[in-house]
């Protein structure tokens, strides 16, 4: 139970980081820094992958 709670807390933190990445993508596109935009998109995708793993470990999702 404690493991599930800490996995969820970490997933929440990663979700906040993902929001920062979205902001970086918008900033990069707005100010013509496209490598920053694409790098932020890459980090965002990796964060989503980590969140999917954490959800499984927390027992929120089950095996497909």
């Amino acid at each position: 139970m404690r493991g599930a709670a800490s996995a969820l807390a970490l997933a929440g933190f990663l979700a906040v980081l993902a929001l920062v990445c979205v902001a970086a993508m918008v900033y990069g596109e707005w100010f013509d820094r496209r490598l920053l935009s694409s790098g932020a998109l890459g980090v965002l995708l990796v964060l989503y992958a980590a969140i999917v793993v954490l959800f499984r470990k927390a027992g929120i999702t089950a095996e497909e």
């Binding site: 496209r34 490598l35 920053l36 694409s38 790098g39 998109l41 890459g42 980090v43 965002l44 995708l45 990796v46 964060l47 989503y48 992958a49 999917v52 793993v53 499984r56 470990k57 095996e63 497909e64």
Partner: protein, 391 residues
């Protein structure tokens, strides 16, 4: 010796699986999806390749400039070029992991030699498509690779000069060279999909795509690499100049590193010898099937009177060794009385794994040397042995 080495590598591979599963859920183990990951990166290569192709000009004068235009002036062009570049490396890593994992876990012989051989041909075509990609930029590296390749091909006995002419599209580098390179890049890449059909045709449940978590991670990694380490060109190729050296991509250009120490022709011969050895790997072990624990149970046989034609065995057999045919007569058991189909085992494909026996709820399949009564006798003997020892 070779068998002992393979056994050691097999247990190391399985220990690695156990280690990964301490961190990740079992169905997320990336080593279960090395083939699927290769397909993911191949798809990325095709999509990014089409976008790059829209801007590419296959001519001696225009190739370098068109790649530079894509990299510098097209919005996100540098990202797509980088993704194409790193997806090629990731693709090669995935297929090498796939190759070694199947080799070390003994899944390349007997009924699976077709997958192994098609995999080796896929490796050759993938290497060719990857290597020719470096020629298309037409910078100093492309020029040097072309020169080394022509030298290597010319050293082939009898047909060497013809091969070199086929490679560059004439007696030397000319206006036909870059279109030829483009064909040698795109042609093998398209052939990969035909070869994949050969690779999968004998597999009933291939894992052709990784789970979403690895799709997200793989794509994310490509975007990060393309942004942090953008793909760049060297200096443009100069006719008549001979550059001193070039940056090496170890996944596709390692044979050219050998050219430092040996003639290009010998490096080519070494590559051909390695690939030839790869082709015969499934046939190198000379153990009898019984020594390997295979072919000792007899191929599965259908118990005609019990078969209901339900097709469960047909769907479960991973080796395509069971076919359903129209039933010539009803079965004798009550459940089989109204059957329309009958299971038939293709002996040459059956590897005696017993999966069909587990799949059949009607006791309509048997391994002739592992009958139910034999199994029950073994269990009874096993149960009686400790009791006898205790008295």
């Amino acid at each position: 010796m070779y068998r002992r080495l393979l056994t050691g590598l097999q247990s190391a591979t399985l220990r690695l699986d156990v280690g990964i599963q301490r961190v990740l859920p079992q169905d997320f183990n990336p080593l279960y999806y090395t083939g699927g990951l290769a397909n993911l990166f191949l798809t990325v290569l095709v999509v990014s390749g089409i976008l790059i192709f829209l801007y590419y000009e296959p001519s001696l004068e225009g190739a370098y400039a068109s790649v530079e235009f894509l990299t510098r002036d097209v919005p996100y062009g540098v990202v797509f070029r980088g993704i194409h570049r790193y997806a090629a490396d990731a693709y090669m890593v995935a297929i090498l992991l796939h190759l070694f994992r199947n080799w070390f876990t003994d899944r390349y012989r007997e009924a699976r030699d077709s997958q192994w051989l098609s995999g080796m041909v896929l490796l050759v075509f993938s290497g060719l498509a990857g290597f020719t990609g470096y020629l298309l930029v037409w910078d100093e590296r492309s020029q040097m690779l072309t020169s080394l390749t022509v030298q290597a091909l010319r050293s082939v006995p009898l047909v060497g000069h013809w091969l070199a002419e086929v490679f560059v599209g004439g007696p030397g580098v000319s206006d036909t060279t870059l279109p030829r390179f483009l064909f040698l890049h795109v042609g093998p890449a398209m052939a990969l999909y035909v070869l994949l059909w050969w690779h999968y045709v004998r597999l009933r449940h291939p894992k052709i795509w990784p789970p979403a978590v690895w799709v997200l991670f793989g794509l994310g990694l490509l975007f990060i690499l393309a942004s942090v380490l953008p793909a760049t060109s060297g200096r443009p190729a100069q006719p008549g100049a001979s550059p001193e050296g070039f940056p090496v991509d170890w996944f596709y250009l390692w044979p050219y590193v050998l050219a430092r120490w040996m003639a290009p022709g010998w490096a080519l011969a070494l590559v051909v010898a390695l690939l030839a050895y790869g082709m015969v790997i499934p046939y190198t072990l000379r153990e009898t099937p019984e020594e390997r624990g295979l072919r000792a149970l007899g191929q599965a046989v259908v118990v005609d009177e019990n078969c209901t034609g339900c097709e469960l065995c047909y769907y479960d057999c991973p080796y395509n060794a069971i076919y359903m045919v129209p039933s010539p007569a009803p079965g004798k058991s009550r459940a089989a009385a109204n059957r329309k189909l009958l299971a038939v085992v293709v002996d040459s494909r059956c590897v005696e794994c017993g999966i069909c026996i587990g799949a059949c709820p009607f006791e309509a399949l048997e391994l002739p040397r592992m009958l139910d009564r034999d199994v029950q006798q073994r269990i009874q003997r096993g149960a009686q042995a400790p009791a006898a020892a205790a008295t």
